[in-house]
Symmetry: C2
Subunit: 363 residues, 2 copies
Amino acid sequence: MKRHSGKVKMVTMRDVAQASGFSPATVSIVLNSAPLARYIAPATKKRIEDAAKKLGYRPNAMARFLRSKRSQSVGVMLFDVTDPFCAPILRGIENALYQSSYVPIFADAHNQKSRFEHCLEMLLDHHVEALIVVANWLFVDIQLLADLSKRNITAATICWEVPGDSVSSVIVDNEAGGRLALEHLYHLGHRKIAFIRGPKMLIDSAPRWKGTQKFAHSVGLEIDPSMVVQLPDVWDPNSGFEGGYRLTEELLQRKKKFTAMMAFDDLTALGVIRALTKARMKVPEHCSVVGFDDVPLSSMSAPSLTTVRQPLEAMGNLAASIVMEGINAGLENREWSISRHKVSPELVIRDSTMAAALTAWDD
Amino acid sequence: MKRHSGKVKMVTMRDVAQASGFSPATVSIVLNSAPLARYIAPATKKRIEDAAKKLGYRPNAMARFLRSKRSQSVGVMLFDVTDPFCAPILRGIENALYQSSYVPIFADAHNQKSRFEHCLEMLLDHHVEALIVVANWLFVDIQLLADLSKRNITAATICWEVPGDSVSSVIVDNEAGGRLALEHLYHLGHRKIAFIRGPKMLIDSAPRWKGTQKFAHSVGLEIDPSMVVQLPDVWDPNSGFEGGYRLTEELLQRKKKFTAMMAFDDLTALGVIRALTKARMKVPEHCSVVGFDDVPLSSMSAPSLTTVRQPLEAMGNLAASIVMEGINAGLENREWSISRHKVSPELVIRDSTMAAALTAWDD
DNA sequence: TTGTATGCGTTATCAA
DNA sequence: TTGATAACGCATACAA
């Protein structure tokens, strides 16, 4: 095989025009199937398309943007890639954008406000046509929205609802999820249940707990306040594990009996299990544990985790579809309004929970 | 606060020129600190910079590209975001690019050759200045390289070395890692050891196994072929768990005693632990298990996993630094040549291994 | 030390 | 039906 070390010369629309014997304007019309393409002779179209294919013409995205203001890209801002539940979301987003031939420009705020702002600037500098933000901490201020809607960039958030009517959102129904988790334990016959609530700063914490409380109330289950603890406000997704571990130790020291534990999320649940195991209690034989999220690895832990599943990939997909809709609406200057979606969680029963009747707590 | 619902008008260099009373050319020179900026009067610079700041001027990335061929973006192609070891790599890449004010354009090949090719096209259409590929399956052909080097786009691969001298690479020293794992078990006194090798298609499998064999040979340890099994070639990162589970069951049925198990990677190890547990064997009391990778969640599993750590984030960082070097070299048309890095793995001892003397296998 | 003019590759508006 | 031309925002060679 011959080795050509020379650079690949970029083949432009003009090259196609020359090769086909038509003008650049005609080529542009044909290749974009613009409205005027209706009036172009089929033979002409064919010759142009053939020439383009033969030369391997690929439109220059940048030049196109300069004229049409379309960058064919969407900003995707994560608050922390390291959080295990980002991966499925990312896949969902990527998949939807891929369908529309848009590329995601990726940014990671590392859970820092200043970094978030800087990332946002970079994304805007690259003229993303829309923005998707995956966040669950509360520190982003409203300034963000102003910026975006003034530049009319459609935006959607995942795991986070912003006040006002300028940003679409996709969140899980935390209240339903909180209910589902407790309901499961209750139906298994558990009555002495310990709870680890989410950090105050985390937006999911409150509604999830509310769902739990409501269910308890509806069946007349009393939640013992001394069996309820709360994760601290720490800016690290994996700190849930550490927190679950420490808080469980603390609960254990209180010497009150509990046959089940409802953890704020899966990582917390894993921390709980670690602490219980260390205290020579087996899960679920001595204590059932239920998590939240259904992070990819909770099916592989030992024991596998019963949890409330968030359809993360679907949520990413939905968010991306929404912003694509917004982009297209803007293009055709149709009317369009933002939407807020609350998707349903789903109980996934695995090996970390069992009927209370079978539970043996050694006093 | 007054609400301006009008679009934000893009402020261009011309606006800055007018506001400061200088020409666009001078503004350009100053704002880019181009070579000629040396000759510009400090007072002029100041006035221009002030005007730019006051107007909130932000250069238009697309227009700049059209002139200078610089998109300030790097393509990042993953073979599967779903693979838990992608997240740390992604973080490393993002971090390095962020330092250089480059943005990552993200693509996911979903482990499919056709999708890989299509993604590559999309990235090239967006004129990424460099490409980083995270891959461990073998199916990408050399055509890729030709394309890239002809367009002289610097490229780097992670977890994968490509033949030839056109692509930089960052891989872990699999041979050393394979050695480390067995060495650990050996020093704990284990002699009856079972092995789950990686899939043949996976590029890491061979060298890792070679390191293991070499060590065994060096200490006169005999590897019993009937205690060696191999994962099938399945295109799914999480299939390791399933495979580890099934293969362990198979090994158990052979009724040969083993006190330790060396798994190809962490997910496989988790599958192994699941199977052992199901067979009423405790880890590590009845059987020690060692994994590979140190995926984020292996520290949280029960028991926590002893494993050979790949410095994933550092590897991502390194790859990004390399391509940035390549980009800069190209810009200043300096000579530059690709580099191949083999980073050292590190043994992380946790709770899934213990001394053989303490191991009790019930016959 | 600063300004003028040109072109990067497209697309849109006219005119032919 | 198709072609000429201008403009998008910026950076550079050249002129002043």
